[in-house]
Symmetry: C2
Subunit: 325 residues, 2 copies
């Protein structure tokens, strides 16, 4: 690759900060600026921080914008409006709304000759790619997705709202027996709660009623009540030392029979010490794909399912065939 | 998909037989004939068996030929010559020769407006895809490939040539400690023999000198001498009951650090009761990709790295985004 790919980041939360750092590992990439809705002076970013209101002034200095906003409210608004002016990549993860989000981005991007890749990351993202691959090559079988061990932001927020809780995190943990059962090839019917348990680590306020906290958490409808839930009380030092990262990961597993009644199993695993770091590394990687799609004159919205793996690499097709195939 | 994809099979060995059976699982596929270099009457195939000399008469009845010949001598000859007349898919696995094989197929196919996908299967194939994916999304790290537990045809042949061996099979087995070390993220330097051990099951001729057989095997240069090798003597009944399948599988693992010094691990696993059954199921799947490439007017040679995952599915892009992304 001769020309460096110039990236802009939109939003400076977990993903935005990780993306800024991730760019360093990609010799063919260069960060230009971070765009934020907050006062740019309050961000301590390494890249220049710029108000989102000035983003159009950067049209000629940026090849691809990486949208690092949240899926709940940021991306549905920022995505379609920015895809009018820039080629974009985002990690939109509201699975149920993907079709309409895709349509909105597709319309904006096509109309203006831009190229966008949506829902890049690990789920949606690498997990989705494996679900499609597995389903395609082994038509008779059943696919399972397990998440974790991983920090769940929503559930951690929920326990922190319980009276008496000073600090708290919640991990989603795959149930080992369920994993074993799936791997055995028996193709069990499993609901989410039969696949996962919830483990909480809590620092209680002084003199708080721990039994009551535990009871309140375990009976919280939807969030915890349907699940096997464990609550651990720990001291603040342990919390600060051991629960500051955002680990995650999971498993996509398909078992099935091929012709001639043979059992086959495919499995994809991730074990991530930092979910935002890994996700943003993938987001940055896809900038190469956007550049290749652009070169081919392809505009509109794409997902990870539409992109050949060779488009993700900085190596030539010849090198890849020689050293990786 | 409205039109059934019409497939011809070239060669009726392990892969050919499995491919014939695999087609049944793909509702959008149809087998037309098996082409063989042997007397077609000696094949007990379900599909019509036809002499390879008559294959050109089938040009209008076949959309894609699946080449099921061996990589050592069959494919280097059959591949480039058949790619002149048909679109083809093969599982060429002679890793060192892939670049020149690709060029030969590419020239034949392009010249005649055909589309060929080479080196389809699991390694090369799904493993290659994961090696490229892993290397791309996590630039700083190290990737390992382990094979097995799996039957090795070459090593089984070698032990069967030892005097006193009536029947024998050899399994390549990943060394558990090496797997653990790799997964730990320590990025060890491991040679093939530090990753794999060799386990042999042998039925000895009556009155054979078992100690000598074991010694001969364990000291066989290249094949066994460098490896930790175990030899088990079993009776013929056990051999017939437990060692008739061709299991295989393995692991592609990459560990590395993302930005901000976080450890990340990606892993792809296969556990296959039948290597040829699984490989042929993948070969058949790629016929969809050939049809899509053809529709786009793309001719010449391609590998699994050049093809979007959505091209492998019988589902529409809309369905995939809705249910799999
Ligand atoms: N596909 C996947 O595998 C995957 C994996 C992980 C995450 N994700 C997606 O990534 C999205 C973003 O995740 P995230 O963890 O980066 O979310 P986040 O930390 O909440 O950041 C979201 C946005 O909130 C704003 N923000 C951040 N810190 C703020 C603060 N202190 N005060 C006020 N505003 C602040 C930032 O925009 P401004 O700078 O403009 O204020 C930022 O872009 C998630 O919603 C999820 O959809 C996807
Ligand atoms: N990429 C991957 O992951 C992967 C995995 C597994 C295998 N492979 C590849 O697949 C290739 C084929 O494997 P295979 O196990 O199918 O090889 P095989 O059983 O040895 O068959 C190869 C060819 O030999 C001929 N043949 C078969 N049985 C015969 C017999 N009884 N007498 C005379 N000729 C016979 C057949 O051609 P005719 O019908 O024309 O005689 C057949 O096409 C391997 O070389 C390997 O490269 C790739």
């Amino acid at each position: 690759m001769t020309n460096t790919i110039r990236l802009g980041l939109v939003g400076y939360g977990n993903i935005g900060k990780s993306a800024e750092a991730a760019i360093e590992a990609f010799p063919d990439m260069e960060g230009v600026a971070v765009f934020t809705r907050r006062n740019p002076e309050t961000l301590n970013s390494k890249l220049p921080a710029v108000s989102i209101d000035q983003i159009l002034e950067y049209k000629d200095q940026i090849d691809v914008l990486i949208l690092c906003g949240g899926s709940a409210t940021d991306l549905p608004e920022q995505g379609p409006s920015l895809a009018k002016h820039f080629s974009t990549i985002d990690s939109y993860d509201n699975h149920g709304e993907i079709p309409s989000y895709f349509s909105a981005i597709d319309a904006s991007a096509k109309e203006n000759g831009n190229t966008s890749v949506i829902s890049v990351g690990w789920d949606p993202g690498l997990f989705s790619m494996n679900r499609v691959l597995f389903d395609s090559v082994l038509p008779s079988g059943k696919t399972y997705t397990f998440w974790g061990k991983g920090l769940s932001q929503g559930h951690s927020d929920a326990i922190r709202r319980v009276a008496g809780v000073k600090k708290g995190v919640q991990y989603t943990v795959p149930i080992e027996e369920a994993l074993d059962e799936v791997r055995s090839g028996s193709q069990p019917s499993l609901s989410a709660k039969e696949q996962h348990e919830r483990v909480c680590y809590i620092v209680a306020e002084e003199n708080a009623d721990k039994e009551k906290i535990e009871q309140t958490i375990k009976t919280m409808p939807n969030y915890f009540e349907p699940y096997q839930t464990t609550v651990h009380f720990i001291d603040e030092e342990t919390f600060e030392n051991e629960h500051q990262k955002m680990p995650h990961g999971g498993f996509v597993i398909r078992t099935g029979e091929s012709a001639l009644e043979n059992q086959q199993r495919m499995e994809f695993q991730l074990k991530l010490e930092s979910n935002p770091d890994f996700t943003s590394s993938i987001l940055v990687t896809y900038a190469r794909a956007v550049m290749k799609l652009k070169e081919e004159g392809k505009t509109g919205a794409f997902s990870v399912l539409d992109i050949p793996l060779s488009y993700l690499s900085d190596k030539t097709p010849e090198q890849l065939r020689k050293d990786f195939l």
